[in-house]
């Protein structure tokens, strides 16, 4: 039975095969708490607090708790990786794993309901990225006098950016360029808002 689980493309790992056995003793509330904690873990966010609360509540035996969390983590992680997984297929897989029906609905909605909250992924799970700004400082200078002009009175901005890949860039920004930079940044922010509020691209989930 467990061999036919399509989510894993073959034989499911041991913790998943035993998942049903350990879920049997849980009540629905505990399960939903565990599901939300595991979802956070899959996204790389910190979930130690919620897991600690569940394990200390005494509703679950420690052994069961550990196995259940491990099994759920493996299952959810694999399910969330597959872009074209359909809910019915996933439900079939859960039945093949002999998870009880009511739990199937919970687990399934955890996987398929959380698709939109993808903005909270921690940085480690974002995959390869370019450099990000680690430290950013600026100052405004006014050149009062130079060797070419005795009364120059030209303001300029000096920026210092330390990036996450270790480079330090220090550069001067003429006022005109600064306006252009700020204008472009606000333009990008507006576009981002548009994307997040409504799907500009009609992506079928």
């Amino acid at each position: 039975m467990a061999d036919a689980v399509s989510v894993f493309g073959g034989r499911a790992p041991a913790e998943v095969q035993q998942l049903a056995k350990h879920l049997r003793n849980l009540d629905r509330d505990t399960l939903s708490q565990m599901l939300s904690a595991v979802l956070r873990a899959v996204d790389g966010l910190d979930c130690r607090e919620s897991l600690r609360l569940i394990s200390e509540s005494g509703l679950v035996s420690e052994d069961s708790f550990n196995h259940a969390v491990a099994g759920l983590y493996a299952l959810l992680k694999e399910a969330l990786c597959l872009p074209s997984l359909r809910q019915e297929v996933f439900n079939e897989d859960l039945r093949a794993l002999r998870v009880s029906e009511e739990f199937i609905a919970d687990v399934s909605s955890a996987v398929f309901g959380s698709r939109q909250t993808s903005i909270n992924i921690s940085d480690t799970h974002r995959g390869p990225t370019l450099a990000k700004i680690q430290d950013f400082k600026w100052r405004v200078d006014v050149a009062i006098s130079t060797s070419s002009l005795s009364r120059a009175l030209q303001p300029s901005i000096l920026m210092q950016m330390k990036l996450s890949d270790g480079h330090l860039h220090r550069f001067e920004v003429p006022v005109v360029k600064f306006q252009e930079l700020r204008y472009n940044v606000s333009l990008i922010l507006k576009e981002m808002n548009d994307i997040e509020k409504r799907s500009i691209l009609r992506i079928q989930d």
Binding site: L80, C81, I121, G127, K132, W138, T146, L163, V173, R182
Partner: protein, 179 residues
């Protein structure tokens, strides 16, 4: 020695002969020597003029004072007048160009950007996370042909923080000083 133009000769025939014997030079060598010296002096005179123009820019001289100063170093009045008029019309642009050319080791020359939508990673599929990449083109003082590209990535929150950090104070001060 003396200020000369092409037509005048600094020394009379006798004086040239005396120089020739005194310096033990041949006649054509002496002429070469005299011409070289007068050339150098002319350059100095031009250099005086250049100095004057630099001073004009440095102190932002009015055209009238420029004309006066030129006449003081024996430039003919009509020519001084021409210089003064050209200066009057060209000065604002020249000064503005110099003002904007205040030097710094690196200057931001180009602002480019790209907005991406992250659809999936190896850890997670079906994302819709927008993120932006800013391309800052920095021009170094000595290398005017090539821009150094700095690529910086931002997600939504990072970009908001950046926008607020470069926010009201800097812009406000710049605008006050420009006006």
């Amino acid at each position: 020695m003396l200020c000369v133009t092409q037509e005048e000769r600094s020394f009379s025939e006798e004086e040239e002969e005396k120089l020739q014997s005194g310096l033990s030079l041949e006649k054509h060598t002496l002429h070469l020597l005299l011409e070289t010296l007068s050339f150098i002096l002319e350059q100095n005179q031009n250099q005086n003029q250049n100095e004057l123009y630099c001073q004009a820019v440095y102190h932002n001289l009015k055209p009238a004072s420029l004309r006066q100063q030129l006449e003081n170093i024996s430039v003919q009045p009509e020519k001084a007048e021409v210089f003064a008029q050209v200066w009057a019309s060209a000065a604002p642009d020249v000064l503005q160009k110099i003002r904007l050319g205040i030097f710094a080791p690196n200057k931001l020359d180009l602002v480019g950007w790209q907005l991406n939508l992250q659809m999936a990673t190896s850890a997670r599929s079906r994302l819709k996370a927008p993120h932006a990449v800013l391309n800052l083109g920095l021009r170094t003082e000595d290398d005017t042909e090539r821009l150094q590209d700095v690529f910086v990535e931002f997600n939504h929150q990072d970009l908001l923080d950046f926008y607020n950090q470069t926010g009201a104070p800097g812009v406000f001060e710049c605008e006050v000083l420009m006006n």
